[in-house]
């Protein structure tokens, strides 16, 4: 009692209680850490590191400063109003000579070609003839390729000296930097990414809406049926998970294609004419149908888990208090399912904006998603920086969705399963 209230509590042998407690739980903490260590290591190697690698690649810009080091040094202090002096051209010739001998000019020419088309051939043509060139290099280089006589070329080289670049992100939203450093829209015939982003977003929203529309009644039935019936229904809901994604997608091709099951049946029934078969696959409709089907369980399960916790007495109470069936549903049951709708919605939406295989197989040209372009840039155009930038933007959209969801509903309110 005589102790001041601020004095820390002590155990019988005088050790502060906090220290003693920490010592007591240290062992169990270490044990717990050891148990999660394998997964943690795996996640760091397979998830966290690649993630940062990707984010890094989307802004990394080493090509010009590495392969044109002499030119970069010579350009320092260049005012950009007239062509650089002879020293700079000599430095460029030296850089290209060295690059030609080491045969590592490919990355540089690709990088510059992203910013200014024609740069690839300019560099390779110059590099091939670099051995025959004599000073003064300024005239010699311009003679080999007059691109070197353009002010914009030099501005570009000077700009790309920086070790970081925004140009991949700009390219990902169909923008580029003008030679003067302003952000401008790329010519219309080259615009592709912004359209794809919008298409991915609105089609994902449509798919989310459709899964909600189809899944809500099913989840309601699952939650309100007696256990032995609902178990059977649950197996039917989960059945798609037991079939390969590829098989399910190709099944839709078999059903929806113009010589497919559905068209055949409709022709046989005389609903449509044989020559007017519906095009339901390899377009937006195909993507929407197949993805709605594939993602449906991800909507049903969170909805079900929320509905399961709503006792039937709420609806009964609403009815007995005089609420007509629909009104009771709208005022009492529906508001209680909102956490489930939000959880299912965000799950399906996030999954579908990142979906790759289904749009690739059934989307054709018009039903393709932004993810298909990430794959294109990874595998075909080999512009990894751009692929990383697009992927980073997708990641950013997902994070925004999550934050909005957390703000409005609260992640802790959602139980899956």
């Amino acid at each position: 009692m005589s102790e001041s209230p601020a004095a820390p509590l002590r155990t019988a042998d005088g050790v502060p209680l906090k220290v003693s407690l920490r010592r007591a739980v240290r062992r169990s903490k270490i044990k717990a850490l050891l148990l999660v260590a394998p997964l943690l290591t795996f996640l760091i190697i397979a998830f966290v590191m690649p993630l940062f690698e990707m984010l890094w690649r989307s802004v990394d810009n080493p090509e010009v400063s590495t392969h044109l080091s002499r030119t970069v040094a010579a350009l320092e202090g260049w005012n950009g109003e007239s062509l650089p002096d002879e020293t700079t051209f000599a430095a460029l010739a030296e850089d290209l000579r060295e690059g030609q001998q080491a045969r590592n000019l490919g990355l540089l020419s690709s990088r510059l070609n992203y910013e200014k088309s024609g740069m690839r051939s300019t560099i390779s043509r110059t590099a091939r003839r670099i051995g025959t060139l004599e000073p003064p290099y300024r005239e010699a280089l311009i003679e080999v390729n007059d691109t070197w006589g353009e002010l914009d070329t030099w501005k570009l080289i000077q700009r790309e000296t920086s070790p970081y670049t925004m140009s991949y992100y700009l390219a990902a939203i169909d923008r580029q930097l003008s030679p003067d450093g302003e952000i401008i829209t790329v010519p219309e015939h080259m615009q592709i990414h912004a359209t794809l982003f919008w298409r991915t977003l609105w089609m994902s929203a449509v798919i989310t809406g459709l899964t909600l529309l189809l899944g809500y009644p099913v989840a309601f039935l699952l939650a309100s049926l007696p256990a032995r019936h609902s178990n059977l229904l649950m197996i039917l809901v989960l059945l798609p998970f037991w079939t390969s994604l590829l098989v399910r997608t190709t099944t839709w091709i078999a059903i929806l294609q113009s010589q497919g099951v559905l068209n055949d049946v409709m022709v046989a029934l005389g609903i449509i004419a044989d020559e007017a078969r519906w095009q339901m696959i390899h377009n937006k409709m195909g993507t929407i149908i197949a993805m709605t089907h594939i993602l449906l369980p991800f909507m049903i399960l969170p909805l079900y888990s929320v509905m399961k916790t709503i006792p039937p007495s709420y609806m009964r109470a609403a009815r007995s208090l005089g609420g007509k069936p629909f009104l009771s549903f709208r005022r009492v049951y529906f508001p209680l399912t909102i956490p489930g709708i939000a959880a299912g919605g965000i799950l399906v939406f996030i999954l579908s904006i990142g979906y790759y295989i289904t749009p690739a197989l059934v989307g054709g040209q018009s039903g393709r998603f932004i993810t298909n372009y990430i794959a294109y840039h990874m595998q075909t155009s080999l512009n990894w920086g751009l692929a990383a930038a697009i992927a980073s933007i997708l990641l950013f959209v997902v994070i925004i969705c999550y934050l909005v969801f957390n703000r409005l509903i609260g992640v802790d309110k959602v139980k899956l399963g």
Partner: protein
């Protein structure tokens, strides 16, 4: 005793008259088409009456309430409300208030919004809703809690809100499905009186379901004791306790000493029963058969007395017993005896001045009147 019977008849006569408010006629209910959960339920409830359906779980009492509210349809029979059959009337058109077992307060609405719900669906004006909600909150003494969510209230407060919500739209009939089951003992008793008070002041008809006999005895005008889908006895609380009509009611309501035997003689309002242990007991025949049939004798523990020469005339049945256990319960003593071969023979004696302190192992003579010993079905 005679008085009690008179009152019972009076109640029965009133129920027959035309002011019958709720009426179950031969109601049967089966969920699976194999087994009947409710077998021929008949009940008449007068306007303003408090009737309790009492029974063990699974006896069909809640099913009857659900049929009344409209959440279950009777498989057979009719339910009348104010003389109109309501079998095909959906729940929201019945205008019956209901208090659910776990209150079923809408968790996403405040207390005031919960109370306003039944008024809003009836399209009352905003002012009127406000007025009625305030009045209902005042009735359950929760004036300052309108803005809270149900989760922020204690169990007892939630219970009051549920009660207020069932009453706020002024229904003539209120159904309650074990509304006090989730409360602790003290709160439960307090709420019993509260409900009783509200019932008396509003004059609404209440049908109450519970498995707690004390609750039923405290609150009800009449109690229907359910077992196995059948009403065993429908009577006032005192009749049920004093004059149970069969062995189930006798054992379900209050404590009860049971002695098994065979009827050997019947003469007017008395009968002789030879117990399985050999003794012969004089009893009141209530639901026993003719001579030679099996019977259960039912005897309330507080009607058994330690033999005393001054009361010799009253105690027609006298037997020696052995004290097995004495439990001190403050206001009374509970003594377990071995009497007539029954090891669970209970004797309740009030803790009055100068009561004789019994010790385990001690021999004692006990006696009871034939009027208190009722010969029921086997």
């Amino acid at each position: 005793m005679q008085q009690i019977l008179d009152r019972d008849e009076e109640v029965a006569a009133q129920a027959d008259s035309s002011d019958c408010f709720v009426r179950f006629i031969d109601v049967q209910k089966s969920y699976d088409g194999v087994e009947l959960v409710v077998k021929g339920f008949n009940l008449d409830v007068r306007h303003g009456e408090f009737v309790t359906l009492l029974g063990p779980s699974g006896s069909g009492k809640t099913t009857c309430l659900m049929m009344m509210a409209g959440f279950e349809t009777p498989t057979h029979g009719q339910i009348l409300l104010k003389g109109e059959p309501i079998n095909d009337l959906p729940p929201h058109k019945r205008g019956i208030g209901m208090v659910f077992q776990n209150y079923a307060l809408f968790p996403h609405m405040t207390v005031a919004e919960n109370l306003a719900f039944p008024l809003e669906v009836r399209h009352l004006s905003k002012d009127e809703i406000q007025r009625k909600v305030d009045r209902a909150l005042a009735m359950v003494r929760l004036e300052d809690f309108g803005a809270r969510r149900p989760a922020q209230l204690s169990g007892g407060q939630q219970q009051r809100v549920a009660l207020a919500r069932a009453l706020v739209f002024e229904p003539d009939l209120v159904l309650m499905d074990e509304p006090l089951g989730a409360l602790d003992k003290n709160l439960r008793e307090e709420m019993q009186y509260e409900i009783k008070r509200i019932h008396a002041s509003l004059g609404v008809t209440m049908i109450y379901v519970t498995h707690d006999q004390t609750e039923a005895l405290t609150m009800s005008d009449r109690i229907a004791v359910f077992n196995d889908g059948v009403v065993q006895q429908l009577a006032t609380p005192d009749t049920l306790y004093e004059a149970p009509e069969n062995a189930f009611v006798a054992s379900f309501i209050g404590e009860n000493n049971r002695l098994l035997g065979e009827v050997v003689e019947r003469q007017g309002e008395r009968c002789q029963v030879r117990l399985d242990s050999g003794e012969t007991v004089t009893a009141t025949p209530v639901a026993c058969g003719e001579v030679g049939t099996r019977t259960t004798l039912s005897l309330r523990p507080e009607r058994v007395a330690i033999f005393d020469h001054s009361r010799q005339d009253e105690l027609d049945n006298c037997f020696r017993g052995e004290v097995l256990e004495v439990i001190y319960l403050g206001d009374h003593l509970r003594t377990r005896l071995r009497v007539c071969g029954n090891d669970d023979f209970i004797l309740k004696t009030p803790n009055a001045k100068g009561h004789s302190a019994l010790k385990p192992g001690q021999g004692v003579e006990v006696g009871w009147s034939w009027r208190d010993c009722r010969a029921l079905d086997a």
